[in-house]
Subunit: 135 residues, 4 copies
Amino acid sequence: MAHVHSLKVRYAECDMQGHAFNSHYLTWFDVAHTEMIRAVFGRYEDIVAAGVEFVVAEANVRYRAPARFDEDIDIHVLPREPGETSLTTDFEVRRGEDLLAEGWIRHVCVDATTFAKTPWPDELRSAFGEVSGTA
Amino acid sequence: MAHVHSLKVRYAECDMQGHAFNSHYLTWFDVAHTEMIRAVFGRYEDIVAAGVEFVVAEANVRYRAPARFDEDIDIHVLPREPGETSLTTDFEVRRGEDLLAEGWIRHVCVDATTFAKTPWPDELRSAFGEVSGTA
Amino acid sequence: MAHVHSLKVRYAECDMQGHAFNSHYLTWFDVAHTEMIRAVFGRYEDIVAAGVEFVVAEANVRYRAPARFDEDIDIHVLPREPGETSLTTDFEVRRGEDLLAEGWIRHVCVDATTFAKTPWPDELRSAFGEVSGTA
Amino acid sequence: MAHVHSLKVRYAECDMQGHAFNSHYLTWFDVAHTEMIRAVFGRYEDIVAAGVEFVVAEANVRYRAPARFDEDIDIHVLPREPGETSLTTDFEVRRGEDLLAEGWIRHVCVDATTFAKTPWPDELRSAFGEVSGTA
């Protein structure tokens, strides 16, 4: 089951069309991803301290309806089955029942010092499975 | 042939990993798209004044190597053949010969007042063709 | 008594020094100001719908200690006695008992259509007093 | 004489009022400050590599008239006489002859490793004087 993170659209995030500007959805995905990690594993800094980092390899967002200033939105976060060194996570942006946007981010696990690709630590791998219900 | 817009990575755009944060690439794509439009047609505000706006329907970025603070990067912008109301534009982020990222944005043409989908005006359609070399 | 709005520092807000970049404090002040207005009056959009807007005339931030990624911070918001058309609001950024930054923003009340200076509506004026305890 | 850095206001920087949002001025000041340093001394990274960093201790902006999307603006940067460990720099944002905003940033020189206050290196101190004409 997806982890859900709620936030309120900031005035500074909205453009002259009165809509949240498209790039901010990726920032929201990042915030919600951090909270998903916290819910099943712990703080992102503890992962870094343990020697690995997440790097974004690819991102996709499909915008279906605008999010507007001051609206309360829910970001649903659902990791797929992780690969050896990669993990694709699906996101939905909802306002109540309405789907405003959906997308995904493919992260790669890298060594926190060398930034070379490295396999996901077992504890992280099983934490992802805990959210997605595959663990 | 792609339109090229150059910019320098800002300190405020770089994160604790020392890399430009992923969401800023979409802002760069937007800046470069505005410049492509200017090169073949004119100012974005004149398009709005003429009654239509661009809305982002989908965006994709594939990050290949990090862009760092103070680096000079080139954003290559190449519109594909436009549809009736949509236009997909390809982007490449290059530092010299190195490809740092590539992606695309699918815009939809909307009425500037009602935000309802509307066909691309002929002048815009032929301007896109001028960049892509299909006009 | 100050209105307090809590938020968590986003990864995208932190720079290569590992600190929240200085410009984001003004965005946080804006978010917290919106929440202060909501607490004593209502939604910012309802103010705009009623015919006036807030415009920022001057801003000041004194940075005392860095805010870092993932930290929970509290923004304290305390409007001073409003002038005819202006209002200065004091802000403090605290992490628990620690004062990380303090500052103020001077807003001006403008007509939502012409953007000309206009006196604060009485309901807003008394709402500000309600927060500051001068009403 | 002030160092001048020119930039074009980005769509993503403009809010629902059609104006550049107030926090972005601090990002522009930072960009222009980096260019001033480059003009008289060299790259900011070389300063860090040499062992010191700039930290922002206080910032002030007075907004006089809005900057709008796609406008070409000039940021004028003029350092004052540096203190032992601090430096206040004045900024003006101009569109042609029009003054849109003015402000200042007080930086403190810190050790790049410990982030403890440290005196400005002599080469930087004389570089500041070169811009301000006091050297």
